[in-house]
């Protein structure tokens, strides 16, 4: 454990730590472009050159291991001069695209130019010109003029996805990032190269030129695309999702998300008719339609329960709060009705993030149902009971809670659906179930109301409300609370009461600090170790993890 001094501050760090990592871990800023904690060290951008006592030449902080007694100066005249020089070199041929560049506002060139550069240029020549929009693949566009050749994108494809689509071509100032003939950048994680690009050279086609980044509110949330539950930032503007980017979470997704999650807005911005709007029910009077509809639903379910022919269809896309209310409705007023949980699986688990289970909360649903409603039962059994005439009334939540499901197989077969006399559906997007509903209560979709999910490895995470709800729908949590109140003769419980009940009634949730959840990296359920299921650390992070040093930076 050598002790070094950076700008007069003494730090003791594990052997093998680099100057840059030691500085980052203690909040001292050393600028960097090519270094990324999840990638190997390239050492090519040269902006992290620092002065070290007794070293005759500048050293790059990213590749210099600390040694006992090392004295580093990040604010000395020499260090600042080297920073100014590298900034000047980086900018001489860099286009003044900032007014039309997607990266503007979150660009490291802008930031470091402001902090370490100079206000004027000595460059009198014609700047180098090159391709401004070259498709590297279906999602990513490359701007040669903006590229600073840090090779982060190349190293990502070699070391993280191990697909190796990108390479460096040509030489010197003509160097360019490119793909090999017949092998475009089309791996399922290609969008991450846009995030790690420190400048505006790589842009995401679906976000390109759509919004200035400073108009977006980046709401920390959790992806609903699969059982991984990646931590994300939802970039919304005027109640529309423009961009979804990964949020660093070492226990779940590290620095990455998949392209399907990145493009989740496409599943929210459904074609007309896919999004459900306006309650559909029979009783018409002069009260609010929601009051009348919920009352009718409660009466329908209660009479089904009296006849002993009611069942409940839950969803692994509902939040644990919603699922607890649903379970309590099933267990109490519905007389212990069986609760069924559909599967939403496609493809296979891959080695990085994507899970074949395309629902964000299966583990949460199974945990809640097991503790409160006698366990989650397979939908095949529900179909059998419907065909056998044992069930004629169904309360269904989902399956379209997180986005459109028109490309998914139906949860219940047409033959089984036809046997239902009463079908009460709470859902956000259209499905055969909502088409067949005798009573439809449209609910808010993912992103419009908050709640918690448990990922496949037992990580409890908060999915925030980044958008205002669409017209003519209500949060499922509110509707289920109203139903619960009507059916039990009590009142609708508040969210904190439901969360307290989860902790009190289900041992796996006993230690959860619910108030700390939003914007955090989540908490493990009792007995879970989510971090062990996160993708293996790569690059510098692999070494840092072995040293017990947090992999700071991005």
């Amino acid at each position: 454990m050598p002790t070094l001094t950076i700008d007069g501050r003494q730090l003791t760090v594990p052997d093998g730590t680099t100057i840059l990592q030691a500085a980052l871990a203690s909040g001292i800023e050393i600028p960097y472009y090519c270094y990324h904690p999840a990638l190997s060290i390239a050492g090519n951008c040269r902006i992290c050159l620092v002065e070290v006592e007794k070293f005759p030449k500048p050293v790059i902080a990213c590749n210099t291991a600390v040694s006992e007694g090392m004295v580093v100066f990040t604010q000395s005249e020499k260090t600042k001069e080297w920073e100014r020089a590298v900034m000047e070199f980086l900018l001489i041929n860099h286009p003044l695209d900032c007014p039309i560049c997607d990266q503007a506002g979150e660009c490291k060139l802008q930031e470091y130019s402001f902090r370490h550069g100079q206000p004027t240029t000595r460059f009198q020549e014609e700047k180098s010109h090159g391709p401004k929009k070259r498709d590297l693949g279906p999602g990513v566009v490359y701007d040669w003029e903006r590229c600073i050749k840090c090779t982060r994108c190349i190293r990502f494809c070699e070391e993280v996805t191990k697909t190796g689509e990108l390479g460096m071509f040509l030489r010197g100032v003509h160097e360019e990032i490119g793909t090999f003939p017949g092998r475009p950048l089309d791996n399922p994680y290609s969008g991450n190269v846009v995030d790690i690009c420190p400048v505006g050279a790589l842009t995401w086609k679906k976000f390109r030129f759509r919004s200035r980044v400073w108009f977006l509110t980046n709401v920390p949330s959790t992806c609903a695309g699969c059982a991984r539950g990646c931590s994300i930032d939802v970039g919304a503007f005027r109640n529309e999702v423009y961009r979804i980017t990964p949020r660093l979470n070492q226990a779940v997704n590290r620095w990455w998300i998949c392209d399907a999650g990145r493009d989740w807005a496409e599943r929210l911005n459904a074609p007309p008719g896919q999004r459900l709007s306006g309650a559909r029910f029979t009783r018409q009077d002069d009260r609010s339609p929601w009051t009348a509809a919920v009352e009718e639903a409660a009466e329908t379910l209660a009479s089904g329960a009296t006849a002993g022919k009611v069942a409940v269809l839950a969803s692994p896309r509902a939040t644990v709060e919603e699922l607890l209310l649903l379970s309590k409705i099933a267990r109490g007023p519905l007389g212990g009705a069986a609760v069924y949980l559909p599967a939403h699986e496609t493809g296979a688990d891959d080695e990085l993030l994507i899970r074949r289970d395309r629902a964000p909360n299966r583990r949460g649903a199974e945990t809640v149902l097991a503790a409160v409603a006698g366990g989650a039962r397979p939908t095949a059994e529900l179909e059998q009971r419907l065909v056998a005439g044992e069930v004629d009334t169904l309360l269904a939540l989902g399956p379209g809670l997180a986005g459109r499901v028109d490309d998914e197989p139906p949860v219940l077969g047409a033959e089984a659906l036809a046997r239902l006399r009463h079908l009460v559906v709470l859902d956000a997007f259209r499905s055969p179930l909502s088409d067949a509903a005798t009573l439809l209560l449209p609910v808010t979709a993912w992103g419009e109301s908050a709640g918690t999910y448990v990922n496949f490895a037992g990580r409890l995470q908060w999915a925030a409300a980044a958008l205002a709800p669409q017209a003519n729908c209500r949060p499922a949590f509110v509707l289920l609370g109203d139903l619960f109140g009507l059916l039990t003769g009590g009142s609708a419980p508040a969210r904190h009461a439901v969360q307290a009940a989860l902790s009190a009634e289900i041992p796996a949730f006993a230690a959860i600090d619910w108030d700390a959840l939003p914007a955090s990296s989540g908490q493990d359920l009792a007995g879970a170790d989510a971090a062990s299921a996160a993708p293996p650390p790569t690059g510098a992070a692999e070494k840092l993890t072995s040293l017990g040093v947090p992999a700071e930076g991005r």
Binding site: V86, F89, K149, M168, R171
Partner: protein
């Protein structure tokens, strides 16, 4: 003076094994096999042999960095740097064309000393003829049992492979060379780790220049004392090959001791200025990457590593070229800057951007559109590229000539700036 390194130059069929053997070849390797490997490393250290590729680092010390106990899983490798690409340098080419077996024998002795089981020769892609000569010689040596298993029944086995480069100057830098040899893009690697720990294919590797290695049989055959007796002092020993070109009557490769002066080289061995009535104006002693010297600075300049360094330049690869007073030094500066801008690998920001910037400024001055402030910009940009701001020394190689041309031939730059045309054309 007796020619030793070039003793077979001019002999008919000198590239053939039988001729090489008839003239005493492959005697040194037999002698070397009777010596302990470490004893050879000590001899090379004691001989004072310094690397002939440009850096002038002690060869024996470099060899000493290699692990003493290689295993089949972690063998030692020797790489011969035959990527002779520094403008003005053509000595290794002649060694490989005219005496390829000398290089093979040198590699064998060096391999024995460093416990190397495989030698890679990385030869410049444009060197088609030298490549054929050397590769034919390697096949001859294999057929004669001089390469492969149990060489000369010594129990020592060593393979040799000749690999052609693809035409990049940067691949003469030893770590870029290793990346290229492995089949990758020739980009210099970050150090540490150093080649002796992590070289070709991650194995301990020593990279030596062709001429450097060719000195090794001489040290074995004739002894350390003989080797040290050639040259001016303890730090500059052994015969040296000078590549003389430019405006001289008799350009070529000359084997001389390092006691030779620049004037002797140019006016005696080189036969003086090519064009009648012209005078020496500038002299580059060690390849295009070293600072240029004025004619005045060449007076009484001994062409050894340390004397040239004291004059503010470098012996480099001993690629000496002379320019007469009809030379437009701004044009030379531009052409030199263009070379380095063209050859920068592009990895490091200062080199990728700086080399092109300097070229563009000098080109603009030559178009008659320069200002005096441009000279300060060249000096500042070149200064910012040097002394460790980049991974490898190519940036220094581009910056040093630019700085020296602007400093020593400032008048010619100013003439372009003030009059829009060359000072030389008006002579």
């Amino acid at each position: 003076m007796e020619r030793t390194l070039t003793r077979n130059f001019g002999v008919e069929n000198s590239h053939r094994l039988e001729v090489y053997r008839r003239r005493g070849g492959y005697a040194a390797i037999a002698k070397a096999f009777k010596l302990e490997p470490d004893a050879i490393i000590e001899m090379v250290k004691a001989s004072g042999l310094r690397g002939r590729g440009g850096a002038g680092f002690s060869t024996g010390v470099k060899w000493g960095f290699m692990p003493k106990n290689p295993t089949p899983e972690r063998p030692n490798y020797l790489v011969v740097n035959a990527d002779e690409s520094e403008p003005g340098t053509f000595k290794d080419r002649y060694l490989m064309e005219l005496d390829p077996h000398l290089l093979i024998e040198s590699c064998l002795i060096s391999a024995w000393a460093m416990r190397v089981s495989r030698v890679f020769v990385y030869i410049r892609g444009e060197y088609v003829f030298p490549y054929r000569r050397l590769d034919d010689a390697v096949q001859e040596a294999y057929a004669a049992g001089l390469l492969g298993q149990n060489i000369l029944k010594s129990g020592f086995s060593c393979d040799m492979l000749v690999h052609r480069g693809a035409g990049a100057y940067i691949c003469g830098e030893e770590t870029a060379l290793m990346d290229s040899l492995e089949g990758g893009r020739g980009n210099p690697r970050l150090k540490p780790p150093f080649p002796a720990q992590y070289g070709v294919y991650g194995k301990p590797t020593t990279v030596n220049n062709v001429e450097t290695l060719c000195n090794v049989p001489l040290i074995i055959e004739r002894g350390v004392d003989w080797f040290k007796s050639i040259g001016p002092d303890e730090r500059n020993t052994g015969p040296k090959l000078y590549c003389l070109s430019g405006h001289v009557k008799n350009p070529g490769v000359f084997e001389l001791p390092m006691t030779t002066t620049a004037e002797e080289l140019i006016f005696e061995h080189g036969g003086g200025m090519l064009r009648h009535g012209r005078k020496l104006k500038a002299f580059v002693p060690g390849g295009s990457s070293v600072p240029v010297l004025t004619a005045d600075e060449c007076v009484d300049l001994r062409m050894d590593f340390d004397s040239v360094a004291r004059r503010g330049s470098m012996l480099g690869s001993a690629a000496a070229y002379a320019m007469d007073d009809g030379t437009d030094m701004v044009l030379v500066a531009e052409r030199t800057a263009h070379f380095y801008a063209h050859e920068s690998c592009g990895q490091c920001t200062p080199c990728r951007e700086g080399t092109g910037w300097i070229e563009k400024i000098i080109a603009r001055i030559r178009r008659g559109e320069g200002t005096e402030a441009d000279l300060a910009t060249i000096e500042s940009a070149a200064g910012n590229m040097m002394n460790g701001t980049t991974i490898c020394p190519l940036a220094d190689a581009a910056a040093m000539p630019a700085l020296s041309f602007v400093k020593k031939f400032r008048d010619e730059f100013l003439h372009y700036i003030r009059h829009g045309r060359s000072a030389v054309a008006s002579l």
